[in-house]
Amino acid sequence: MNGAETILEALEREGVKHIFGVPGGANMPIYDAMYSRPGIKHFLMRHEQGAGHAAEGYAISSGRTGVAFATSGPGALNMVTSLADAMMDSVPLVAITGQVPRSAVGTDAFQESDVTGVTMPVTKHNYLLQDVEDIPRIIKEAFIIAANGRPGPVLIDVPKDVQLDEFSGSFDVEPRIPGFKPTTKGHPRQIQKALDALTGARKPVLLVGGGAQDASEALRRFAEKTGMPVITTLKGMGVLPGTHPQVIGMPGMHGTVTANLAIQQADLIMAVGMRFDDRITGNLQKFAPNVKTIIHVDIDPAEIGKVVEASVPIVGDAGWVMAQLAREAPQLQLEAWWEQIRAWQKENPLPEPRGDELTSIDVVRAFWQATQGQAYVSTGVGQHQMFAAIYWKTMLPRGFVTSGGLGTMGYGLPASIGVQVAHPDKTVINFDGDGSLQMTLQELATLVKYNLPVKVLVFNNGYLGMVRQWQDLFNDKRYAEIQLYESNPNFALLAEAFGMRGVVIEKKEQLKKAVDETLEHPGPVLVDLRIPKEEAVFPMIPAGGSADDIITQHPEEAGS
C-alpha cells in the first residue's frame, strides 16, 4: 500500500464518506488511489475555494468534519479563503493538499508554495507530512483537533513522493498531541455561581451563538424553564426554532430593535457559544450599559474576557454546561420584563414591503411559507444575506449556513453543494446576491454534474447592494464602483447554458407559482429575482454605533 492509499484508508477509518476537491500534479497519486476505492465519494469542484466552502457547508449542516482536497501551489492557495472562513466560524475541516516532492521543497519548484506557512494563521493547526509511516497518526490527530474543543480547519500538506512511498506500518496508532486537551466539562463551582446570579436577575437575556448548535435541546429546556428571552446571533440561528415565542431576533448591526434594546436594558447577559463580535457589540463603551452580570459559556477560554469582562466565566462544551444548568435552572419572575419586550416588539415591527414591486422580503417569506422553514439555507454576503437572516425563521438546528466571521462573498453556492450532499433528501435553498454569485458561479456546473437539486435564488438588484447602502447612508450617495447591472449576465440563460433550469421573476404576482414550481422541480434551479435596485436593509446600527443609533427606515422616508 502506498502513501496515497494509506491516506484514503485512514480517512475511511475516520468515517469519511464524502470529499470535495480538485486534482493536480502534486496530488495525483491520491486521485489514482481513489479510482479503485468505491467507499469514498468524491465531488469534483470547479475551483478549490468552492471545494473548501462545500466542505464547510457539509460540516456546518451535519456536524461531521468536512474534507477537501487540493493540489500544491495554486490549488492549495485557492483554498486559503475557505480555510480562513472555517477558522473564523469554527468549522471542523480537514484539508489535504499535495506538495512537491521532499527533495524539491524549498527550491521554487514548479507549483511549489509554502502552504503550511501561508495557512498558519488561518488554520487551527497544520502539518507538513514528511514520512509515510506518520500518515495514520497525523490523520487521526487532524480529525481530533478539527472536531474537538473549538472546532476549526486542519491542513495536511503531503509531498508527492510521500504519497508514493510504500507504507508498512499499522493503522492502530495513538495520537501524540499532549498539548491538546480541551476542557469540555464546565467547573461545578462556576455553574453554581451562574445559577446564583440568575436567581436575582430581573432583566436577563440569553445570547446564543454558533457554538451552541449542538446544545439545542439543553438550551431549549434551560430557556423554557427560566423563561428568559432568547437572542440568536447570525451563527446561532436555528438553535431554537425562529418561531419559538421566546426568540426575539438577532442582535447587532442588522438585528431587531427589540433584541438590541433588550441587551441595552439587560441586567444579566448569559452568552453561550458566542464571542461578542464587533458586528454584535458595535461601540463597546456603549454596549449593554446596565448589565451587572455576564455569564459567558464557551469552550475556548481565550474568548472569555477577550472582548467583554465576564463575571461568571464557564469554560466548557455548551451542550454539557447547558444540560447541567437546565437541570437546576430557576424559574425567573420576568412578567414585567416580558411586558416591556412585547411592547418594544409592538412598537418596532420589522419593516414591511411597500408598493407592488417584488421585494427581497417577499421572496424570503414566500419560500418560508412554502416550506414552513423545513429547508436548509445557505447565503452569499450582502443585503440579501441580511434579509435572509432577518426574515427567514430558521427552524432546523444547523439549518442556516452563512459566512459570518469572514463575510466571504461567493460562499453561498459552493456551501449549498456541501449541504445538499450531507442532506440529499432535504430542500436546500441558496439565497445569493448577483455580486456574490459571480465570485463562484462556476459551481453551477457542479450542481449539474451531480444533479444536486439546490434552489439558487439570485437577488438581482444590479448592485453590490450592501456597499451601495453604505455609500447611500454614509458617503453622500457617492456610488463608486458598485454597478453590476450594465454587465450582469442573463442569469436564467446562464443557468440554461450550464444545463440546469433557469427562471426569471419580475413581478410579485409571479412569485407564488414560481416558488411552487421551483420547489417541485427535481433538479437544480436558478431563479433570477428582479428586485428593486435601491432596496436597503433595516434595522441598521451604523458601524461603531450603539442601539441609540439604530436606523429603522431610510432617512428620506422617515416621517412619510
Partner: protein, 170 residues
C-alpha cells in the same frame, strides 16, 4: 507592564514561527525571546519577555495555549530567578582605560573571554537591569558590539514547568 512568560513546547519544525507569528498577528509586544532544549527529549522551552497590561497578558497566555504544540505556559508572577547573558566587545586601547575597565568588570562580576590588542570581549550574567548597567559603564571606552541572550527564567522552590493537564483554566 513587563512580564516574563515561559512556554514549554514540542520541539517541532516551525513551532517558533507559530509563536512569533501569533504575537505579530495579535499585536503582542515581544521585548526578548530565548529558546533552548530541555532535559526531556522532544521538549523545548521558550522564555518571552512581553510588554502589556494584565488583560493583554491573559490573552497572550490563552492564545499560546491554543497552539497545539504548546504544552504549558506560565507567566512568572511567583518568586522566580531571572537571568540574561551578554557578550560585550569593548575598545581597550591605552593602559589607563584597561585598568578602569577591569574595575567595572569586577564590580559586575563579568569576565574577559577574549583579549586582543585593541579590544576585549566580556561575558556578563545577571538580571537585564544589571546587564544594562554593565553596558552603560563601558560606554565611555567605546562599546563595539553587544549580543544579549534574552532573559530566561525559572520559578524558585519546588514548582516545575512540566507537561500536565493543561487548559483546565477557570
Amino acid at each position: 507592564m513587563r512580564h516574563l512568560v515561559s512556554v514549554l513546547v514540542e520541539d517541532h519544525p516551525r513551532v517558533l514561527t507559530r509563536i512569533t507569528a501569533l504575537f505579530a498577528r495579535r499585536g503582542f509586544n515581544i521585548e526578548s525571546l530565548a529558546v533552548g532544549k530541555t532535559h526531556v527529549s522532544g521538549l523545548s522551552r521558550i522564555s518571552i519577555v512581553v510588554l502589556g497590561d494584565d488583560r493583554t497578558i491573559e490573552q497572550v497566555e490563552k492564545q499560546l495555549n491554543k497552539l497545539v504544540e504548546v504544552i504549558k505556559v506560565t507567566d512568572h508572577r511567583e518568586p522566580h530567578v531571572e537571568r540574561e547573558m551578554a557578550l560585550v566587545k569593548v575598545h581597550t586601547e591605552g593602559v589607563e582605560d584597561r585598568l578602569q575597565i577591569k574595575e567595572i568588570v569586577e564590580a559586575f562580576r563579568a569576565r574577559a573571554v577574549d583579549v586582543a590588542r585593541k579590544s576585549a570581549v566580556y561575558e556578563v550574567t545577571g538580571s537585564p537591569g544589571k546587564i544594562e548597567g554593565f553596558i552603560e559603564g563601558l560606554e565611555p571606552y567605546g562599546v563595539l558590539e553587544v549580543m544579549r541572550s534574552g532573559a530566561i527564567a525559572m520559578s524558585r522552590g519546588e514548582s516545575v514547568l512540566k507537561p500536565r493537564m493543561k487548559k483546565e483554566a477557570v
